[in-house]
Symmetry: C2
Subunit: 215 residues, 2 copies
């Protein structure tokens, strides 16, 4: 089977924003509360950032536990890696995730401002100034036959959709409204020409899962 490019556990507000306005070191999601937006995922047993035991093992957990399955690399935007813009003043910032990032694979950060690769635990971050198709080629090579996760944010996912490079998407639509922020879509039907879709409301409430795969 060929290598897929997969969007997983990508959560947007009811009005289609992937993050709020005014993102900063203190507010990675801007005026959006990531705890509220991601509460569906945080309640599951398999959420990669979970720190305490327990958690649900129902439908939502099937979605969070698929995060790592057969993934060999991740692609993310610079906005997901950190709040800085423009040239790097230094290389002290190594992402939000501390010494044990939850990726456990090579990660390709798309940015016009490259810097040397570095490794934290079993995750290596590479910085690439290239178009989506070129970055995907590099990520697929690094993934050694496994799939590639497209980690977001919204802007990067839109760029890969525009280049028609995405094979499957799981978009979780939260009940939270943001009013403004980083736009992902106006409506899911923007994808209907190229993708099949299943819509599944979480039995636990708070979120509706949209599962897309190529026609």
């Amino acid at each position: 089977m060929s290598q897929l490019l997969r969007v997983q556990n990508f959560t947007v507000s009811r009005d289609g924003f992937g993050a709020g306005e005014g993102r900063s070191l203190e507010k990675p999601f801007g005026h959006a509360d990531p705890g509220a937006l991601m509460s569906w995922a945080g309640a599951t047993a398999s959420w990669p950032n979970r720190t305490d035991p327990g958690g649900s093992r129902g439908l939502d957990d099937y979605l969070t536990r698929d995060f790592h399955r057969n993934i060999g690399a991740e692609i993310m935007g610079r906005g997901k890696f950190g709040p800085q813009e423009g040239s790097w003043e230094d290389h002290e910032w190594q992402g939000w995730w501390g010494d044990e990032p939850p990726f456990h694979t090579p990660v390709f950060v798309m940015t016009h401002h490259t810097r040397p690769s570095f490794t934290l635990s079993d995750t290596t971050f590479h910085f690439v100034d290239a178009d989506p198709a070129t970055v995907l080629d590099r990520a697929k090579e690094a993934a050694r036959g496994k799939d590639v996760r497209l980690g977001g944010g919204a802007t990067i996912i839109r760029a890969f959709l525009e280049a028609d490079l995405v094979d499957t998407l799981h978009v979780a639509v939260s009940e939270v409204e943001l009013g403004s922020g980083v736009p992902f879509w106006k409506s899911p039907d923007e994808l209907f020409d190229r993708f099949h879709r299943d819509v599944v409301p979480s039995p636990r409430g708070g979120v509706t899962h949209h599962l897309f795969w190529r026609k």
Copy 2:
């Protein structure tokens, strides 16, 4: 995390039977048509017995592709292994699955009529005459830290539920009615005292998924 005992993709009729009556070499599910009962699974991209490419990658596929995730061994009843009853006349029968069984792990077949272990591709079948707790101990040891799949049929799953050894269950309730056969439950509410449950109708139709996990 401790090793779980998981029931996965176990499909029952709307009236609660895991297989029909009159099982034989020609009719592994008796008067039940396995193609109709399992059509929800056969339509997915990740169904282990799939022979042609394609298939859906929506909700039902999340369920079928979890079949192998973190599984290190399977336990099954003799009725799943083959249609014979009583002592083995010979050891020619090696299961329904040909030279490439879809398990890829040790498999423990529970039976009062043991026979020597044998290996087909990367699956080794062991035959064990013991109670559920003892078989589970052996399977967990063979699984080397991974979870154990409880593969069915209905009678074996009921025995492990009775011994309170099951951690999670995915039971797919088909719209097919059988009228008679091997009983699994009269109603899902038999499990409510010990398990949480999510109920998720497949967006593709034909089946409703019941996902249970321990309270």
